[in-house]
């Protein structure tokens, strides 16, 4: 493989620093819960359905509890209490609490409440494990796909068209299909329900939509003799709930990154760090692979000057992931081919960065993103730009490659765009299959020098972030050239400090699962 020099000592130091940065955040996380976390817990226990206004029961339930200022106890305490008080089922318990005349008193018998939840907690975990087993059984039926895995997006806004497109992508050779979410969903503090047929820029992530696409992709896998991965987005205000839905509906991957929400969706940091932790606990248990969003930084910041911010954030994201029990094999750290193509030797700078990250995160299923920012409406030139990206992808052995689309600057991909993108990627992966094994980079050349520079700049930035804490660093615009305040952004009101009696056997069970 076309290796670049990587100073192991610097890398170790980067990981140590990242650990400190993450520990600081982890302390905050352990002391807090959010409406999102509590809704997730309720769902895990089997709470489902809508009220007469169409609001999800879990929202009505948790909001009412929060309105009383009682969320610091954890919704589980109240569900357990209601069960102990004879509610026939968790759902019934939830309805009583949500729709009952009043919320009622704090359950006196905490032990009873806990006890009442034991079986339900076990079932909640079993449900996740069952989905995981089913995924693995299905996967085992097919030969392992060759990397880079070819990842494409469908986004018609209509789930039934998406399902058709997803199968079409399978026919054309896709290994992974993502259904992009409707543009506003990450700002919604609830998860829409049922199958949906309207959405801008994408289709809503709902449990039913997950099922519909899973079914389509299972059919495609069988038809084309390849396992086809399903992925969606677990970012924004419903990070944890969506992670749970993905876990039980057998998705294979999730875009899951608090930093993305903070920087690009103006989601409050405290809120999304806590949500991310619980979402990743679920992900860890379910064997889902996450994709992080560092690639996005280069759409707002310059890809040459700020290349190191991607690497810095990857070290931190890795540390966060470890603290949620994820294995390296589940960490699809994101990076991208976003350098201005008009820059001389930009191809070499891209290779250096891609190879550096490949070597530093050698067990991680890296997510390699295509050029987007510098794409124009000239679809022919755009197709060539993607070809260079594909070449770097195969030469540096990236794991998950989101294929560029020649229509990137125009619209969400059409069936034809995807077909041609897959055709081109397959051609390049094959024609240059062993290019990476053949190349050795000239000592002290452009590639080596660039790799060294990016690593050392990342190391410096990590030190700086450690000094200031991530809260401060983000406030100062260390990432993506975007500044966000600790108490600013959306969803802050949904953050609650855990009380001494805080109860959440479901999350406890997930955490035990870690050992």
């Amino acid at each position: 493989m076309a290796k670049v020099p990587v100073d192991a000592r610097v890398v170790d130091s980067c990981r140590e620093i990242a650990a400190n940065i993450a520990d600081d955040v982890q302390r905050f996380i352990e002391g807090h819960t959010t409406v999102g976390v509590e809704r997730t817990t309720a769902r895990a226990y089997g709470v489902e359905g809508l009220d007469d206004q169409g609001a999800p029961l879990v929202n009505v339930l948790v909001d009412r509890c929060h309105a009383q200022g009682l969320l610091s106890h954890g919704i589980a305490l109240f569900l357990g209490g209601a069960l102990a008080n004879g509610a026939p089922s968790v759902n019934d318990a939830a309805e009583r609490l949500a729709y009952g005349r009043d919320w009622g008193p704090l359950p006196s018998d905490t032990a009873g409440a806990k006890k009442a939840l034991v079986a339900h907690t076990r079932d909640a975990i079993l449900r996740i494990d069952a989905a995981r087993d089913q995924r693995e059984a299905t996967k085992a039926k097919f030969p392992a796909a060759r990397t880079p895995l070819k990842y494409v997006i469908v986004a018609t806004g209509n789930i039934y068209d998406d399902a058709l497109q997803a199968k079409a992508a399978g026919f054309a050779g896709a290994d992974i299909v993502a259904v992009i979410r409707a543009t506003a969903q990450s700002l919604l503090d609830f998860v829409p329900h049922g199958p949906t047929t309207e959405g801008f820029g994408g289709t809503f992530a709902t449990q039913e939509n997950f099922r519909i696409v899973r079914r389509a992709l299972d059919e495609a896998s069988a038809a084309y003799g390849r396992y086809i991965y399903q992925t969606n987005y677990s970012s924004g205000l419903c990070m944890a709930e969506i992670a749970w839905m993905a876990a039980v509906e057998r998705l294979d991957m999730l875009l899951n990154d608090a930093m993305y929400g903070i920087l690009f969706r103006d989601i409050n940091m405290c809120r999304t760090f806590v949500d991310q932790y619980v979402s990743r606990r679920i992900v860890a248990r379910s064997g889902i692979i996450i994709n992080t969003g560092e690639d996005n930084y280069l759409t707002t910041a310059d890809a040459v000057e700020k290349a190191h911010t991607v690497l810095t954030s990857q070290f931190i994201n890795e540390a966060f992931a470890k603290r949620a029990g994820l294995a390296e094999e589940q960490m699809g750290l994101g990076h991208a081919y976003e350098i201005n193509p008009r820059i001389e030797d930009s191809f070499l700078l891209e290779i250096a960065q891609a190879q550096l990250i490949r070597q530093i995160f050698d067990r991680h299923p890296l997510k390699w993103m295509p050029p987007t920012k510098h794409k124009t409406g000239d679809i022919f030139q755009s197709h060539v730009h993607d070809a260079m990206f594909n070449l770097v992808g195969v030469a540096t052995g990236q794991s998950i490659e989101l294929l560029g689309m020649f229509s990137e600057a125009i619209h969400n991909p059409l069936l034809m765009d995807r077909y041609l993108s897959l055709k081109s990627a397959e051609y390049i992966f094959n024609t240059a299959r062993h290019l990476g094994d053949e190349i050795e980079w000239k000592r002290g050349g452009i590639v080596e020098t660039r790799a060294r520079q990016v690593l050392s700049e990342a190391h410096d930035l990590l030190r700086e972030v450690e000094r200031e804490s991530i809260w401060e660093a983000v406030a100062k615009g260390a990432f993506a050239d975007v500044k966000r305040k600790r108490d600013g952004g959306k969803g802050f009101a949904g953050v609650v400090a855990k009380g001494p009696t805080y109860l959440n056997p479901f999350v406890d069970a997930l955490e035990k699962g870690k050992g």
């Binding site: 806004g157 199968k167 079409a168 026919f171 054309a172 543009t183 506003a184 700002l187 801008f200 820029g201 038809a223 690009f264 969706r265 103006d266 759409t299 707002t300 920012k373 124009t376 409406g377 000239d378 030139q381 600057a409 619209h411 969400n412 059409l414 069936l415 034809m416 077909y419 041609l420």
Partner: protein, 259 residues
Amino acid sequence: MHPTEPKLVTAYGDREGDGMVQMSFVLPLPPSAKAREGAKRFAEAHGLTEPLVTTMEEAAAGYTYFVVYGRSSHSIDISRLEVSELETHTLTHDEIEERVAKRLGRRIVVVGACTGSDAHTVGIDAVLNYKGYAGDKGLESYKCFEAHNLGAQVENVELAARACALKADAILVSQVVTQRNCHKDNANALVELLRAQNHRDKVLLLLGGPRIDHKLALELGFDAGFGPGTKPSDVANFLVQRLCGEETASGRPLAPSKG
């Protein structure tokens, strides 16, 4: 050339007037001689004569991708095109500062945002923020502008409120996501809102985005539209021209997008 004298143009392949155009599309048919003929007929329906189907490939089960070349039988009379080119002077940074100081004697207040659920700030940032775009500094870099960048995901109501509060001379709206024309609805909704608040005449309304052009902006009730490749100085010039008198038709049209 006299405006009313017609000037017909058609596509140019490699000879004057050959009308050569390229098309690509997918038909919901499996590939076959019949599908090929169907693609040919489909191209003919668009006015292509002797269309040549150069490729037919199955892109999905039951869907076939085609590339077609043919000679168009259509031509357009460009003498009949009345396009409102957005004309601006090109005053230098200093000339702008000077003109505002002299003629207005105060700073021009602008409020900008990317509205609705649209989270694309790069465009509006490029126009407003100091850094600017392609080496051309943003409005923040001018002494004569007081630029407020509200960022993305800003609701029209909020934008209008802030504009009133700040006594803004101009509101700058960015719309990047265009699926199902949400950008048009969004933009138009703001105009309606301001009308309802009797505020529309008190501000200049500028619309921008990759799929915006001046013509569209006017149709939507804005005062100007700015598309891909817009430079902050284009915007500065437009504002100064409108707010510091001397309305003029002369000047050069904005540089067209380089793609």
